[in-house]
Amino acid sequence: MHKIWTILQSEFVRRVRTRMFLLTTLLAPIFLLTLLLVPPLISYLSDRSAVHRLAVMDLSGELLPRMQAHAPATLQLEAATLPTDTLQAAVRAGRYDGYLLLPASLLEGSGNAELYAQSGLGLSFQIQLERLLNKAVEEARLARLQVPPELVAVLRAEVNLRLYRLSETGAEADGTAFYSIIGYIMAFLIYGATLAYGSVVLQGVIDEKASRVVELVISSVRPLHLMMGKVLGIGALGLLQFFLWGLLLFAGTTAAGPLLSHFLRTQSSQLGATASTEEVLQAAHISLPAIDPLLIVWFILFFLAGYLLYASLFAAIGSAVEQQQDAQGLMLPLTLLIVIPILFMPYVITNPHTSLSVALSLIPFFSPILMVARLAIGGVAWWEGLVAYLLLVGAFIGAIWISARIYRIGILMYGQKPSLKEIWRWLRAT
């Protein structure tokens, strides 16, 4: 035990001080944020910047003013009465992005509006224009029928469905969508972390074997202790990285409020320049449900046990080969095992309580991903989590036992690329 601790420390320290660790710790959240924020930002900016000019031939004589009244600043609509060939020439010359033909029959509820443009104007533009047109037509027709404003108000009324979750303490706002997203994120974090830290273990074992230092080490400690020290040391590295990411996330969300309020100040005057994130979210009528601390505990427990299960098997594979590329073939069964729950994720997230979902989330190789996702969504009996966890613990103890048997033979084997069959033989050797 004492030696496992010594090995753990060394394995941890030698990695935590590398530039690689610093870079991944700092860059991973930036990368993730970029991935999440850039696409909407780009479409937002491109929608903003492009101003479209359309010539409108309004044969109804009523629709254009109504459309102009509702059109955003980026859409300029100009009345045109010219013959179509002149309009076409104007579009070709670039004076307009296109011309819109509004037949009078639109007011009777028939016919189609026609847009002629030289190049595609984009789906979002098309939707925007269609909505604008519908609104104008609706207004004009309501006006023609002399519908009283009260009735218009009734027609315009929208009802939102708000979900509440019944718990022991009463009704809470339901955040199924929110919790599903949390489930997704947690499951993918465990998936990514298991693969990432598992391959760090694999690489560590291969390096140790390739540099031949392993023979020196196992003349001092048992192979099992070396393997466990390494796996645990790298696991501790993973926990630290998660902790640092958590801190960054906390710092980021805390800083987001004042930053957002700074940008939003022009639009909403009731916000102070130093509003906190909650205040900003409240002002925007967004309320995020709270994350149960117990869920965080489950997450860490399942991450650790799942990591131990996979990492010890990764270590066994690493011990059997001398270079990374030789490991590919042996990795395949293991990679399959970890990808299967990812394939089932969409199903389990949308149907968390079917018997298939329950069964899948109890299987040790899948539970770190699927049970965590289900726990995040909620409504899972505590004993389900516990049973899945006990099965997982049993599996990783078995995996460590198996891996240790492969490992102690593998690390002294040089000059051959063992097949799975060969490894099976090692496993049965005494």
């Binding site: 030698r14 540099s211 230092v213 392993v214 023979e215 020196l216 003349s219 001092s220 400690v221």
Partner: protein
């Protein structure tokens, strides 16, 4: 005392080591000799408790070797290797702690030995920055810094320049005088001859000869002659052609030969005096270890 008692190691159908027995005494150096693939490394690994024998037992100080003996054993494997990314002192402290030293003690020993082997100024460098020879010395330190009672050295001098090889020899001799049991595997005969008190000859996983070096050499008798001279050495070829001697080694002014068919030494001396310009050395002696070794291996394979 180390006792290797009828030890056999099998890998499936292949026998790497067969019924090997020998003992090594404290305060003496035992040389394990053998051609490549003879089973030396396998034997040493079993003594180091890295491998388990298929049959037989290995006792150190009366107890079967295992984790307990690993703590008081130093091992310099033939295949060298260290953690490339660790700092030099950190590496030694880590390896020392794995042997059960406290951090403080490991650090104290590491600094002492780095000083002793002239590596002090590399203390805070990464191991990968060191030359091969320096890494070799580092590896030697790793084998001795916890003051092991049993020291296993597999080809300790390979890759070292003569100065450093001398330094290591000096340290090994010191450890021997301090009463440590030392095992030394090599196929460099002159080193074995210089260093070892006892030898154990292995070929194809079996022991050919084992015992004190002096006795073994005497067993082969005083039938070897060493000559150093100036002038024409062709008379030696003539004697060889007459089946009176067998040439073991000949250079421009030095020759080693074995007397055959009861040829008296003075016959060689007379022939030499009659032919060479000057005779610097004429010595009747035991055969060199390399001859005994070749002879034994040849006998074993036929």
């Amino acid at each position: 005392m180390l006792v290797v008692d009828h030890v056999t190691k099998r890998y499936g159908a292949t026998v790497a080591v067969h019924q090997v027995s020998f003992t090594a005494q404290p305060g003496r150096i035992l040389g394990l000799l053998g051609p490549n693939g003879a089973g030396k490394t396998t034997t040493l690994r079993m003594i180091a408790a890295i491998l388990l024998p298929t049959e037989g037992r290995i006792l150190f100080e009366g107890r079967p070797v295992g984790p307990w003996s690993q703590a008081i054993m130093g091992y310099l494997p033939e295949e060298r290797g260290l953690y490339r990314k660790l700092y030099v002192e950190e590496q030694l402290v880590y390896l020392g702690r794995l042997k059960g030293l406290s951090f403080k003690e490991a650090q104290r020993q590491a600094r002492y030995w780095l000083e002793r082997l002239g590596l002090s100024r590399w203390r805070t460098h990464k191991t990968e920055a060191l030359s091969k020879g320096m890494q070799q010395k580092l590896q030697f330190i790793a084998a001795v810094l916890h003051q092991p009672r049993l020291l296993i050295l597999d080809e300790p001098f390979s890759g070292l320049d003569p100065l450093n090889a001398d330094l290591l020899q000096e340290i090994i001799a010191e450890l021997k005088d301090a009463g440590r049991t030392i095992l030394f595997a090599s196929h460099r005969m002159e080193q074995v001859e210089q260093l070892c008190d006892d030898i154990c000859l292995i070929a194809q996983g079996r022991i050919l000869t084992a015992g004190p070096l002096r006795e073994i050499k005497q067993r082969f008798g005083q039938n070897t002659i060493v000559l150093e001279f100036k002038g024409d050495g062709t008379f030696l070829s003539e004697l060889a052609r007459q089946q009176r001697i067998r040439l073991l080694a000949q250079s421009h002014h030095r020759a080693e030969l074995e007397l055959l068919n009861g040829t008296p030494p003075r016959q060689v001396l007379e022939a030499a005096l009659a032919h060479v310009d000057e005779l610097y050395r004429f010595e009747v002696t035991e055969p060199p270890l390399s001859e005994i070794f070749k002879h034994q291996v040849r006998n074993a394979t036929t």
